[in-house]
Structure formats: structure tokens, C-alpha cells
Amino acid sequence: MNLMSAIGGAVMFLFLAPILGGLIFGVDRVLTARMQSRRGPPILQPFYDIDKLWHKERAFANPVEVIFTSGYLVLIAFSGVILFSGGDLLLVVFALALAHTFLLLAAYAANAPYSIVGAERELIGVMVAEPVLLLLAVGFFMVTESFFVAEILSKTVPAILSLPGVFLALFAVLTLKLRKSPFDIATSHHAHQELVKGVTSSLSGRTLAKVEVAHWYETIIILALMFLFFAGAPILGVAAVVVCYFLEVLMDNLFPRVTWKMTVKSLWIITVIFAVANIAVIGVYGGVV
């Protein structure tokens, strides 16, 4: 891997991802509001929110959550650094799982029933997403013979041609990762959650701000993974990512009452059908384009 471009990618990610992530969430909220015939907040609202959270009183359900949320933020950023420095896709997946464990522990440690139920349901979400992310890395390896992002990016033929099923599965996972649906584990900005913001219900002030920023980072990571399918055709890639995100917002507004059981079932059916079938086809016929 080229050292300079690796460091450059990592630094760009660390500084630009939160800005871009915050902007995306701002646009998302405006878009959602328009779909619901509301006006919506200013586009910079997510940044105002963080600023406000940062200056709130420091109060904890359990002081250890400071460590856990910091760990969550640092490790999410670290997964992004691996990804954007052209590192190993599998390592990205593992680092993400470790990061999520920290978020879950923050929720578990809060000693509150709402928070714990939120953690359990979030954990289900992580479990549902895990095989998709693993199969994604495996799919890329089968097509490009490398787990390294740097090498995947150097291919001229977009991987989407061989991995459409895996891409669809990742699209389904994005729904979960944006934490919009299902509504009973949601931590999004809509006012219709069953669990009063689930996993973050006991976090406040700076700890909550850190989780929010980590969430921006993570969104960028997932979108970057989507973009990876279009390596070799960057303009198409950006267009595809934008369209996918728009579809997510649309879906969220079309199905605002999806529960976690429905999500698990539908997501795993999608994964099994699309991603597994995709991997099997490549495995049998050899998918190198």
C-alpha cells in the first residue's frame, strides 16, 4: 500500500467524515420533514445539537459510560481509518463489531430497563448486519482476490457487476445502520420511538454527543462501502450512493412502524436470498469479471 495515500486517506476521513456526516444528517432531516409536509430544521442543525450537548451538565447513570462511549467513538473512527487507508476489509468489519460492543456496554451499564432493552435490540441489529458485512468482504475477495481496499479500488471493472446481490443486502443493512427503522430500536430524530431512543436513552450531554458523532462516522463508513462496489466508475458510484440514501429516507417514511422482529426476518431473508445466492453463484462459476 502506498504510505502517503494511506495516511492521507486516514487523515481526510478523520476530519472530513464528521463534517460530511453531519451535513448528510441535516439534509436527511430536511428531506424527511418535506416528505411529511413540514418545514424542517436548518441544514446545520446536527452541528448545533452537538454544540448544545457538549455544553450540558455532566451527569451519568453510571460514570463508566464515559469510557464506553469514548471507546465507541474512537473505535468507529479507527475502523474508518482502516477502510480509508486502504486496509483489510475483514479488519474493518471486526473493528466495527468491537466498537458496537462498547456502545452496547454503555447501554447495559446504565442500569436502566429502557436502556437495557434498547441494548438488546441494538445487539440484534448488530447480529443481523454482521453476516452481511462479512459476506461483503468475502464477495470482494472472490471477485478481486484481495481483502485490501487499496487493491479493490485499483480495479477498473466495478464489482457491482459480479456482486449485485451483496450490494442489495448492504442496502438493506444501511436501513438498520441509519437507525431509522425499526422504530422500536430506533435512535433517530423522529418522535415516534417506542423505546425513548433505545440504546442511548440513559446517555446525556457529552456522552450522547460522542455517540452522535460516532454515528456520523459510521454512516460515512457504510456509504463508503457502497461506493466500493463502483470502484473504477467513481461518478456512477457517487450517484448510486446518493440514490440509495434517498431511497432509505423514502422507505423510512413509507414504513414508519416496522418492528425489530419484522426487520430481523425480512433482513435475513434478503441476506439469505441475495447475498448468499450471489456468493454461491460466484463460488460455483468463478466470478472474476
Binding site: A59, Y108, V196
Partner: protein, 646 residues
């Protein structure tokens, strides 16, 4: 004249036996502590020495008196079979008795018809794989025996109704260790078979220690399933002896793995696969290991981490060069991967900590089986890594659960909430063990990673990878919810001041530190032990595998650094701020986390984990997976016969 190496080998084989005899004849706690302590020290020291000696130069030793020892071992085998038959008749169990008779008959056939040819030139071989196994048995095994000293005192305090038979118990533990050393040190399949049967008998007797009806039933289940393995093993030997012109020659492991005509070995390989599957408790033979948890916890720790099941996968790993050349290997890999998938799901539905650990053991053994079945150098490396990391982490977890059970009188995970506050030392060790089992950057995750990459290098490996991906997701689920329980701190009183016994403390902390050392030093394990082993076995193997490139190592090191900083900060850091009572949707909350109901009644706020019994319960998954795994075994044999025919 005995060389130093031979002396070391004989110490490992005979000192535990000698200690077992001493332990069996006296029943005073102080003397027992001394004997166990001294023997353990000798075993650990000798294991380290032998490992060092084997690492500098692989050891191969010929014994002049091998013929006489052969005869002796044969008599041991007959005694074992007769003992099992006798006990089966005493407890009126038909199946174990029948299988015992079959085994007896088969051993008789070997002795009658092939007596001249069963002697093998090289008696003991210590290569790098053996060295790794010796370290696992020698260090983890003895730590568990030491742990048992303290544990058994509390055990009989908690279970007053169970007759105290400690001399018998400790004698069995040490015979077990001796037999395990025998399995990994011997080069002759006949000898391995004999020690194999000793472990079957020992586990049978240890599982039935409490003599309750449940324990008796489960011990007989263990024995009949393992007898099937023993019979398969004996059949494999008979098949090998039938191969012309050099059948007897093939009883030596060092010869069989370099045999030029691998397809001729298909049928014996299939039988060896069955033997490995039974001992490693793979589907459909998994129930004996989950049943084995009725035994006192040190037995479970020993069976799961360093002995018994590891004998099964060890056999599969040394045969993996043969599996890699036959269709048997592919089917074996499928059975292993399928077991990993199903038992990981089954573990979700369990709240009994020992049962979760049992299913997790079976799952990881499944992964090792899959790696051994695939049999490429990369997959064998993954298998050995899995064996090492699983041994330390699982030994640690079992010892923690056992010690915790005696302090809180429960082994249910639901009762472990807030353990980090109530029993800080044990809970910390438990956290290390759990993280060591599934989280990056700890050992098992690295090993799973290696397995995944290894699977992808072979045709049909993708099918195993799919099972691995979903199985890993289940693994993530059941470990994380357990981990979460430990960090909860809800309305639980602080534990009464209880002292952990010294022996338990030594073993738990020792294994915990080992888990961390192995995780941090995994690269050195690969470099110092696994690479030399693979180079000696596989001609085509030259380089370490792909995941070990510098970039990944750097990232793993960084991950460790991040974790270390976080742990240090959690330990020493102080956060200014107010601590609030838990959020209960606006209800009045008191300092214990209870909320005020109507009429001023205080209600405890309780929350439990998800177990998804309707999807992952034993009732739902067991039968279908038996059907599938038995079908896979039938296909395995069908393919083996076809391969020989064509």
C-alpha cells in the same frame, strides 16, 4: 541409557500416574494439596523443557522394549473394555454393553491376526504441534487440577448429599492428564488408540462422579458415543493393516502422512474422521458433551479446554494432510462448519452459563474440524491457533463460572448481573475470557479470521464461509449479552465478603494472564511453532499466510493500544459529574433502582436478556440438525467408498 528427552517424556507419562496412585490411597486435604502442587510443578517444568527441546530439534525416539509395552497397553485396553461392560451390566445399560463387546472383539481380532505387525519403529515423536499440545495439557491441565483443590472443598460444602470421593476424583484427573500426554506423544496409532480409550473411561467415571440418576445417564451417554469413536478408530487400524504391501508400516503417523497413494487411505480416513467427530462432540454426537456438565466444574474445564475434546481435534489435525487429498475431507469440513453454525445458534437459547460454554466449545471444535477437513497449510494453521486460544479462554471461563457458582449459588447468566461490582476479580477474569472468545483483537477472532481466509482458498470453501458468517453473528450475540450482564448494576446487593480459595485464585489469574499473553503474542506463536510445523509437513508451504502482512499487524497492535488506554482510563480515571438514578420513564426511583408504583409500593425494575427460544431452542434445532449431520456422515462414507471403487 536414557537420554534427557526420553526422561522428560517418561516423566510426563508416568509422574501423573504415580501421583494418581498416591492420591487414590490417601484422603487428607493437606497431603493432597502438596501432592497436586508438586506434581503440577513437575509437569509444567517438564512440559516447558520438552517444548524447548523439541523446538530446537524435533525429537524422535525409538524404544527397544516397544513390543513388551505393546502387550501391556493391549492388556490395558482389554481391562477398559471389560470395565465398561461390567459397569453397563451393573447399571443395566444395553447399548454401552453391546458396543463394549464389539470393541473387545475388534481389539481381540487385531491381537490374534495382526499381532506381529502392530509394532512401530519410532515410538515417540515430539514435533512443534506436539509441543503446543504438551504446553496446553501441561499448563492448562495442571492449572485446572490445582483449581480443583479449592473447588472440591466448596463443592462438597454446597452438595452435602453427594458422597465425598475426592481420592478417586483427583486420581482420575491425573490419569486423564497422563493419557492425554500419551495421545500426543505416541507415534503409533495402536498406542494412541489405547490412550484414547483411557480418556473415554476416565471421562465416563468423572462425569458420573456424583452418582445421581442424571449423572449416571449422562455418563453412559458419553461412554456409548465415545465407544462408537473407539470402534471407528479400531476399524481404521484394521483397514490400514489390510493395505498391501506395507499395512503395518502405516500405523506410524510419521509414515502415514507421507504415504504416496492417498486415495488408498480414504476408507481409514473416513473411520478416523468418525472417531474424531465423536470425541470432539460434533453433530450428531454433541449431546454427550452438553450432558457432561453435571460433573463438578473442574471436570468440565478439563474436558472442554485441554483434554478429551482436544484429543479428537488433535487426531483430525494430524490426519489433515490425508483429508486434503480425499473427498472425506470436504464432507468433514461441511460437518464441522454446520456444527459451528447450529451450536452457535443453540447457545443463544441457553441461560445456564455452563451450557452456553458447552455449546460454544462444540461450535469452536466444529471450526477446528472444518479446518482440519480442508487440510491446506493455511487451514491447519488456523486449526492450531483455534486449539490454543480456545484451550486457554475456555479453561478460564469454566473456572470462573465454577468459582462464581459457589459464591452466588447460581450458574444462571441472568443471576450474574452486576458481577463486576459484586465479585470484581472473578468478573474481570470472566470479561477477559469472554473477550478472548470472540472480540477483535483477541486470539479466537484472529484464529477465526485465519480460518475464513483459509476456507476461501479451496473449492466449495465458500459454502463453509457462509456458515461461518452466520455462525459468527450468533456467537457475537450470545457472548455480548453475557458480557452486558456482567456490566449491569441493577438493584443487586453487594456480595457478602467471600474469600476466593488460594488455589482457585492462582489458576484463574494464571489462565487469565495466559489468555492475554497468547492474544498479544499470537504472531510469535505462529512464527515459532506453527510455521516450522507446517514447513515440516507440507512441502509446498513456504510463507506465512496473507493476513499476517505488516498493515494488519500494525492495525491489530493499534487496537490493543486503544483498548489498553481505555482500560487504564476506566481504572484510574475520575470523571467529574453527577450520578443520576436510572431512567424509568419519569417514575419515582429510589437509590436501589426500584420504581414507585401506585399506592406507594416499590417495585423492582427487572430486565432479562433475549433468548429467542422459539427460533434457537433445543426443541426446534436439535432434530433437524441430527438429520442433516447424519445425512452428511452417510454421504461422507458413500463418497469414501466411491472414491476407492473408481
Amino acid at each position: 541409557m536414557y537420554t534427557q528427552n526420553l526422561t522428560a517424556i517418561l516423566i510426563l507419562l508416568l509422574v501423573p500416574l504415580f501421583a494418581a496412585t498416591l492420591l487414590a490411597v490417601q484422603n487428607r486435604d493437606a497431603i493432597r494439596d502438596c501432592i497436586v502442587g508438586a506434581t503440577s510443578a513437575v509437569i509444567v517444568g517438564t512440559s516447558l523443557y520438552l517444548t524447548w527441546a523439541a523446538w530446537t530439534k524435533p525429537i524422535a525416539i525409538d524404544l527397544v522394549s516397544a513390543k513388551e509395552i505393546n502387550l501391556g497397553l493391549c492388556i490395558v485396553e482389554l481391562i477398559i473394555a471389560l470395565a465398561i461392560i461390567g459397569l453397563s451390566i451393573k447399571y443395566l445399560r444395553v447399548l454401552p454393553a453391546i458396543l463394549g463387546f464389539i470393541q473387545l472383539a475388534l481389539v481381540g481380532i487385531i491381537e490374534l491376526f495382526y499381532a506381529d505387525s502392530v509394532s512401530v519403529a519410532t515410538t515417540f515423536i515430539v514435533n512443534d504441534l506436539t509441543a503446543v499440545m504438551i504446553l496446553i495439557i501441561g499448563i492448562i491441565g495442571t492449572l485446572i487440577c490445582v483449581y480443583a483443590l479449592g473447588y472440591m472443598k466448596d463443592y462438597h460444602h454446597h452438595h452435602a448429599e453427594i458422597p465425598e470421593r475426592k481420592p478417586y476424583f483427583f486420581a482420575m484427573l491425573f490419569i486423564f492428564l497422563s493419557a492425554m500426554f500419551g495421545i500426543v506423544l505416541s507415534n503409533s496409532l495402536m498406542w494412541i488408540l489405547c490412550f484414547w480409550e483411557v480418556t473415554t473411561l476416565c471421562s465416563f467415571l468423572l462425569i458420573g462422579y456424583s452418582k445421581t440418576p442424571e449423572a449416571v445417564t449422562n455418563s453412559f451417554r458419553a461412554v456409548w458415543m465415545n465407544l462408537i469413536g473407539g470402534i471407528a478408530f479400531t476399524l481404521a487400524i484394521i483397514c490400514l493393516l489390510e493395505i498391501e504391501p506395507s499395512g503395518a508400516h502405516l500405523l506410524s503417523i510419521s509414515n502415514i502422512i507421507i504415504y504416496p497413494d492417498m486415495t488408498a487411505l480414504t476408507i481409514p480416513a473416513a473411520f478416523i474422521a468418525i472417531a474424531g467427530l465423536t470425541k470432539a462432540a460434533q453433530m450428531p454426537f454433541s449431546t454427550w458433551l452438553t450432558g457432561a456438565m453435571v460433573a463438578p466444574t473442574p471436570v468440565s474445564a478439563l474436558l472442554h479446554s485441554s483434554t478429551m475434546v482436544k484429543a479428537g481435534v488433535y487426531l483430525l489435525v494430524i490426519f489433515s494432510p490425508i483429508f486434503s487429498h480425499t473427498m472425506v475431507g470436504i464432507m468433514l469440513a461441511f460437518i464441522g462448519a454446520f456444527t459451528f453454525f447450529v451450536t452457535s445458534a443453540l447457545a443463544i437459547s441457553q441461560s445456564n452459563a455452563k451450557k452456553v460454554l458447552a455449546y460454544s466449545t462444540i461450535a469452536n471444535l466444529g471450526l477446528i474440524t472444518a479446518c482440519a477437513g480442508i487440510g491446506t497449510p493455511e487451514s491447519v494453521m488456523a486449526a492450531i491457533l483455534l486449539i490454543i486460544f480456545h484451550a486457554v479462554a475456555k479453561g478460564l471461563l469454566f473456572m470462573c463460572v465454577g468459582a462464581v457458582e459457589h459464591r452466588i449459588s447460581s450458574r444462571d447468566i441472568e443471576d450474574m448481573d452486576g458481577l463486576l461490582v459484586r465479585l470484581p476479580l472473578l468478573a474481570t477474569m470472566m470479561v477477559i475470557g469472554i473477550c478472548g472468545m470472540y472480540l477483535a483483537p483477541f486470539g479466537m477472532l484472529i484464529a477465526k479470521w485465519a480460518a475464513l481466509v483459509a476456507f476461501l482458498s479451496v473449492p466449495f470453501g465458500w459454502a463453509c464461509v457462509i456458515l461461518l458468517a452466520f455462525g459468527s453473528a450468533f456467537t457475537l450475540f450470545f457472548w455480548t449479552k453475557w458480557l452486558g450482564k456482567l456490566f449491569m448494576r441493577m438493584n443487586r446487593p453487594a456480595a457478602p465478603e467471600t474469600l476466593l480459595r488460594v488455589s482457585e485464585k492462582i489458576s484463574v489469574i494464571g489462565t487469565g494472564v495466559l489468555t492475554l499473553i497468547c492474544s498479544v503474542g499470537f504472531f510469535f506463536i505462529i512464527y515459532l511453532f506453527i510455521d516450522p510445523y507446517l514447513t515440516s509437513i507440507y512441502k509446498e508451504y513456504s510463507d506465512s499466510m496473507e493476513i499476517l502482512v505488516f498493515d494488519n499487524l500494525l492495525m491489530i497492535v493499534l487496537m490493543f493500544v486503544i483498548l489498553a488506554i481505555l482500560v487504564t482510563a476506566a481504572h484510574f480515571g475520575h470523571v467529574p459529574g453527577r450520578t443520576l438514578s436510572p431512567y424509568l420513564s419519569g417514575r419515582g426511583v429510589d437509590e436501589y433502582g426500584r420504581f414507585r408504583g401506585s399506592l406507594g409500593v416499590y417495585k423492582e425494575a427487572k430486565s432479562a436478556n433475549y433468548y429467542m427460544v422459539e427460533y434457537c431452542g433445543e426443541e426446534v434445532l436439535m432434530r433437524p440438525s441430527w438429520v442433516i449431520s447424519i445425512t452428511l456422515i452417510i454421504i461422507l462414507f458413500a463418497l469414501a467408498f466411491l472414491e476407492v471403487m473408481l
